[in-house]
Symmetry: C2
Subunit: 148 residues, 2 copies
DNA sequence: CCTAAAACCTATAGTTACTGGAGCTTCAAG
DNA sequence: CTTGAAGCTCCAGTAACTATAGGTTTTAGG
């Protein structure tokens, strides 16, 4: 007895994605199937909106769909199967920390550039060196899947 | 007169990507064409390695190739055309800050989960709510390209 | 110098995560 | 009860790789 009233277009507008993307997520089983009107049009509720918003943000942060699937499962299974959930959470946390570290370096470098430029003086642009430095990603990720 | 000695496989191994990915980047003009042996095999130097390493890290952070192209250009043009470079740097910095903000929320939430789990007590998993919250991405990104 | 395995070459096809279009149906405002 | 916006399904296309096929080059060993 939830309020499944939102048509797909409105949902798309509120989370900032394309209508087809929503249908695609449903197709691959990432988003639960919504209710339908008599004429077979999808109608969504608040739960759908939150899940979709999460997916979109996670995608913007570069998480692949399998990782997002894991995180969603983590959120769904409230208390059962702790050991496995714990392991997933820990793995995702590692991935998140690695990203934050690299982004912070890049941020510092971009800020430095803007700073120096203001003084009309910049000889050595270290943007590349900043992220090229391999010390930033503590071990890990050498030779397997892109991330997470 | 640079030391262009590294074969493609070794370069791939050192930066942690696939051989084909390197050839692909060359094909789309992201990576400069390397020298070739008499037998037409590619040989790379330190400059190539650094550029490639940067590209790979930026990709892992979720930057699309067009954004990476911009950042590389920013690094190449040492002092010419400051105004434009400044604008690009500022735009990328905004994107970076937005990502860091969201990742920090997710990180806090994952840490909280692991903490609570340790005490065998977790009723409310807020992983979704953490990133679902749209307040985290200050305005921006509603209705256009995925990011950056 | 001569092999033979490992690494390289080009070209093409497949994968992931969407995005767009064609052709038709449903919804809701007037 | 019409009519235009929004929805539906299905299929084709894009970005950024990734894998495979079939052939050539390198290089270490004999």
């Amino acid at each position: 007895m939830r309020e499944l009233t939102m048509p797909i277009g409105e949902l798309a507008r509120t989370v900032g994605c394309k209508v087809q993307t929503i249908r695609y997520y449903e197709q691959i089983g990432l988003l639960p199937v919504p209710g339908r009107t008599a004429g077979a049009q999808r109608r969504y509720g608040a739960a759908h909106r939150e899940k979709l918003s999460f997916i979109r943000h996670a995608r913007e942060l570069g998480f692949p769909l399998p990782a997002i699937r894991e995180l969603l499962a983590l959120a769904d299974q409230r208390e059962s199967d702790c050991a496995q959930a714990d392991q997933i959470a820990r793995r995702q946390l590692d991935a998140v920390i690695r990203r934050i570290t690299m982004l912070n370096s890049l941020r510092a470098e971009l800020e430095r550039m803007l700073q120096h430029r203001r003084g009309h003086r910049i000889r050595d642009c270290r943007v590349i060196a900043t992220l090229a430095d391999h010390g930033l990603c503590q071990e890990a990720h050498h030779g397997h899947a892109p991330q997470a």
